[in-house]
């Protein structure tokens, strides 16, 4: 069930009202478990098998670790990693690996597997739970205070609800286990402010998804990437700007839905974006884009590799760690050499950022001019690197680059509607953050019937000026 649909706007209020009418906390949790399963099964009932398997495996590994001696916990963690990431690797990467191998050796390339929706998200969350349990137990056995203490969850329904909770199940944000499990264990309440806040996030998500992302997708982006040779250089460049805005509004719109929906049940889940296209360096971009995934790979990949400390390879080690982390982060999105190159490209950029900073060439408080060119450089790097992110293969990526370099500069054929949306979208992105805060506050002061009427108007505007269909979120494919 997609968020930006009439179905969801029937489903959500009914589920929320029933949730709050249930008296017992555990009853509410059980209700969330049940409706989350229904929500997920609405895509493909068969996918629930993989989902429940991941839930069961991580739950059992949590319990077993608690009883296991410290010496065995490392082995258990490795086994958990294999079991939890195994299905994702199998569904997502087997064909790609075999296809690559087939260039060198005679192997049979398997059929393309159906990828259970959201598997990349819930597998990572499940693994994070097992790792955090391991770290907590390990620290305590050494007599240390754990940095992110996490108690093993023994209640299977509560544990399953932590992974299945429908607002974040399919495309994040990727939560640390402690963030949601702790809230599930505590009594929750719903204030009128929560409802107002949730509504503004839902409306924001609706507008971002239907009025910006989908309009740009339909009117500009998909056509160019379907047939790059038919587009000139100017058209291609505009389509790349449009794609950058599309993917931001698509994914951050999804996050708005997730945060708003969760708030209707009394949960607070973390932000995933912080106006990423305002970043002045690629390293800063990754602190503003898909923050929960960046944090995940930082905590569970980059730091274990040694982080920014010099290791066996001396001063090269942090750069190598950066490359490995960013390639893993990129390949998490999909099994394709385009993502490998995307990761290497960003690894190079972040390494350059690091080198410049370490060499003392970076200015901590840049002037307007310095900030402007740093922003322009970073923004265009991010936009152009997205050629690799969006292209289905290297041939298409090559065609896009070819058109950028050799295409004509005739005025693009995109509609006035698309141009207006593109301009407004970037203008909103560049607007002061407190505008959104003030708007939310003003909305919160309105009476409930007015809020309800405004919600209907927002929905009507989206139907009138959106592309008409509810198109899947980009990150559902990952």
């Amino acid at each position: 069930m997609l968020f930006a649909t009439f179905d969801y706007f029937l489903f959500l209020p009914v589920v929320a009202v029933v949730h709050w009418l249930i008296g017992s906390p555990f009853g509410r949790t059980s209700w969330l478990f049940l409706v989350s399963l229904v929500f997920y099964a609405a895509w493909d009932p068969g996918d629930t098998v993989a989902l429940l398997a991941i839930v069961g495996i991580s739950y059992i590994f949590g319990l077993v670790q608690r009883r296991a001696p410290e010496s065995a916990r490392g082995l258990l963690l490795a086994a958990a990693a294999v079991c939890l990431l195994g299905p994702m690797v199998y569904f997502k990467y087997t064909r790609w690996v075999m296809d690559t191998l087939s260039v060198f050796v005679d192997v049979t390339v398997p059929e393309r597997h159906h990828l259970p929706i959201g598997i990349s998200f819930y597998s990572f969350q499940a693994l994070a739970y097992v790792i955090d349990v391991r770290r907590t137990l390990g620290a305590r056995s050494r007599g240390e205070v754990p940095k992110h203490p996490l108690e093993v969850e023994s209640n299977p329904i509560r544990f399953a609800t932590f992974l299945l909770f429908f607002p974040h199940l399919v495309a994040g944000p990727i939560l640390r286990a402690g963030t949601l499990l702790t809230q599930l264990r505590l009594p929750r309440r719903l204030d009128p402010e929560d409802v107002s806040y949730a509504l503004t996030r839902l409306a924001t998500g609706l507008v971002k998804k239907l009025l910006i992302a989908d309009v740009l997708r339909v009117g500009v982006v998909d056509s160019m990437f379907a047939d790059p040779v038919r587009f000139g250089a100017f058209e291609t460049l505009v389509a790349l700007y449009a794609y950058s805005l599309q993917i931001y509004c698509d994914f951050s719109g999804y996050t708005d839905f997730a945060i708003g929906s969760a708030r209707l049940f009394g949960f607070r889940i973390p932000e995933n974006f912080d106006r990423p296209y305002r970043a002045l360096s690629v390293a800063e971009y990754w602190r503003r884009w898909h923050i929960t995934l960046s944090d995940w790979v930082r905590d569970y990949v980059y730091y274990p590799l040694g982080g920014s400390r010099e290791g066996r390879l001396g001063p090269i080690q942090p750069y190598l760690n950066t490359y490995i982390t960013l390639v893993i982060l990129a390949v998490w999105h999909g099994a394709n050499w385009t993502f490998v190159l995307y990761g290497l490209l960003h690894g190079t950029a972040v390494s350059i950022n690091r080198y410049v900073k370490r060499a003392g060439w970076s200015v901590e408080a840049p002037s307007f001019v310095q900030a402007s060119w740093r922003w322009a450089l970073t923004f265009h790097f991010v936009v152009l690197a997205r050629i690799l992110f969006r292209s289905p293969d290297l041939d298409v990526a090559g065609s896009v680059v070819e058109q950028l370099v050799h295409g004509n500069w005739a005025w693009p054929r995109y509609s006035l509607h698309a141009w207006v949306v593109l301009a407004l979208g970037y203008a909103l992105h560049a607007s002061p953050p407190d505008w959104a805060t003030r708007a939310r506050a003003a909305f919160g002061r309105l009476p409930a019937p007015v809020q309800g009427a405004l919600l209907v108007v927002a929905g009507w505007l989206c139907v009138q000026y959106g592309p008409g269909d509810s198109l899947a979120f980009i990150y559902h494919d990952f």
């Binding site: 009439f6 009128p192 339909v218 038919r230």
Partner: protein, 542 residues
């Protein structure tokens, strides 16, 4: 629960109001357009839990798209109007012989009396026997402006009957559409281009609907198509199509003839002395100069420079000297045969009514000079919103369409004629993506036009799958249609091109089997109710 009462109250207040507002839309028909759901649509939420249904196309091991459910692909027409269209019954042996190209639906040419393609098939038979060239010229809109469908048809027919060259190439082009993929047309200098769509140019848009004024010392070079072995096709016949006339007046795009004026003798252009004097043209093939002369004249007219070069060449160029600009229409590049030439004459945005913009005698003379064996008309995609198509059975559209066919055929009345419907187009106007409503009517009218004019007919809309096809094509991976639901992707164009080539070849086989070559040539249709074409000026020979 008490502590949550204010929150729940707000929750109920908000969603209760929203629900009430939505419920109101069902109380009065005037509010129907605001309804989020209509009885008969899938039931919200619950329908998501049921297994999906609908036609599916899957990718086979060899990368070809195949029907996941062949029964659905063979399903009948979706509407009464669609049912009235002849697409060839499945039992028809010609249809049965057509290749399956899912998600397309095999569709044969409809050729009442089996004579609509006679002239072209005769030339095809000769080409197959190693004699002569079969020339087809296809007019259309953005559907073919990028040479997507036409390149496939050309490739298929040239592979079987021989490659007789790229044919007619407009000198200038809308740079956003790479008119031809197989040849490299490179303008040098700032060409001023007018087209049938944009207007200007005094109604003289040349054979391809595009006329360009090459500035002094500017030129256009063309490199011929690459062959399978990487070498360039050697061509032996070159033509330069250009305009002569009085000085060019600013804003008139390099031409001055008004509607209805004779091509060779009109004496318009009064006051042109204030304009820019026309300059000298030159032409080269294979780097060798093959002619030149002045484009200045007291009256506006069209000229041709024809070159037959037995040595052969792989590139050609033509331009303006230092004395001033020259208005040019295009070039013809051919090998001398045997084989097939398939001209792609697409102009973005045009419809059948656009051809009234042409100076009628100019267009007639242009077609007469090219003398195609087959006139292919694929128009109407930009006219689906015309009020005449929305009324009744859309029959009021028929005169507009037939007028365009008359104008195009007037210069070559003995030629064969093939009418092709627009492809399926979709809209998302205030609702889910769906096909535009007038396509079935437009197709029915065009089929009627074909029957009246003695033309063959190919229903490209039905070949795509009829109603809803473009929505399905756009959702495939890789996408077969752009998400604007108006244009096909390269892969989609290739499927349509292959299906059209299948239909033409199947028709040719049928014509051959019926002994078509032994039949007398059909009588050309009655002259169109239009001014008699002015005599074409003599071609300039080297």
């Amino acid at each position: 629960m008490l502590v949550d009462a204010p929150g729940i109250s707000r929750l109920l207040g908000v969603f209760g109001t929203a629900g009430f507002a939505l419920a109101l839309t069902y109380t009065h028909p005037a509010l129907a357009s605001f309804r989020p759901w209509e009885p008969g649509d899938p039931v919200p939420v619950f329908s998501r839990l049921l297994p999906a249904s609908g036609p599916r196309v899957v990718e086979a091991d060899d990368g070809q798209l195949v029907d996941a459910d062949p029964v659905l692909a063979a399903a009948g027409p979706a509407s009464a109007v669609e049912a009235s269209l002849t697409v060839g019954a499945p039992a028809d042996p010609i249809v049965a012989a057509l290749a399956s190209r899912p998600p397309g639906v095999p569709t044969a040419l409809v050729d009442a009396g089996h004579r609509g393609m006679d002239a072209f098939y005769r030339k095809l038979a000769l080409a197959e026997a190693g004699q002569g060239i079969a020339r087809a010229s296809q007019w259309g809109d953005s559907t073919i402006a990028a040479d997507g469908i036409t390149s496939t048809v050309r490739g298929r027919l040239q592979a079987r009957f021989g490659d007789a060259g790229p044919g007619y190439l407009s000198m200038g082009m809308d740079p956003r559409w790479n008119v031809r993929q197989d040849v490299v047309v490179t303008p040098h200098g700032d060409l001023s281009t007018v087209s049938l769509m944009l207007g200007g140019g005094g109604g003289r848009y040349g054979y391809g609907g595009i006329a360009s004024t090459v500035p002094a010392e500017g030129y256009v070079s063309v490199t011929g198509p690459k062959q399978a072995d990487g070498s360039r096709l050697v061509m032996k016949h070159f033509e330069l199509w250009y305009q002569v006339g009085p000085p060019i007046v600013e804003g008139e795009g390099g031409a001055g003839a008004a509607e209805g004026a004779g091509a060779a003798g009109a004496a318009e252009g009064a006051g042109a002395a204030e304009g820019t004097a026309r300059g000298d043209w030159w032409a080269r093939v294979g780097g060798r100069g093959v002619g030149g002369g002045s484009s200045a004249s007291e009256s506006t007219g069209d000229r041709w420079k024809l070159v037959d070069d037995p040595e052969g060449f792989t590139s050609a160029s033509a331009g303006a000297g230092a004395s001033g600009p020259v208005t040019m229409y295009g070039m013809v590049l051919e090998t001398g045969g045997p084989g097939v030439v398939w001209d792609a004459l697409g102009v973005v945005g045009v419809g059948s009514r656009s051809f009234t913009q042409h100076n009628r005698s100019h267009l007639t003379n242009q077609v007469s000079h090219r003398n195609p064996d087959l006139v292919v008309v694929m128009l109407g995609g930009n006219e689906l919103g015309l009020p005449v198509l929305g009324k009744g059975d859309g029959g009021d559209y028929l005169p507009y369409y037939i007028d365009a066919v008359h104008r195009l055929r007037a210069g070559a009345p003995q030629s064969s004629c093939l009418i092709i419907t627009p492809l399926d187009q979709g809209t998302r106007d205030g609702g889910p993506a769906r096909s535009k409503p007038n396509l079935a009517r437009a197709a029915a009218v065009q089929q009627e036009a074909a029957a009246q004019e003695g033309c063959a007919f190919w229903n490209a809309w039905s070949a795509m799958g009829g109603d809803g096809a473009v929505v399905r094509w756009s959702s495939m991976k890789p996408p077969l249609a752009w998400s604007d639901l108006l244009h096909l992707s390269s892969a989609g164009q290739d499927i349509i091109g292959q299906m059209l080539a299948d239909a033409i070849e199947a028709g040719f086989s049928d014509w051959t089997a019926r002994g078509g070559a032994r039949q007398p040539m059909p009588t050309p249709p009655a002259p169109a109710p239009a001014p008699a074409p002015a005599p074409a000026p003599p071609a300039v020979r080297p």
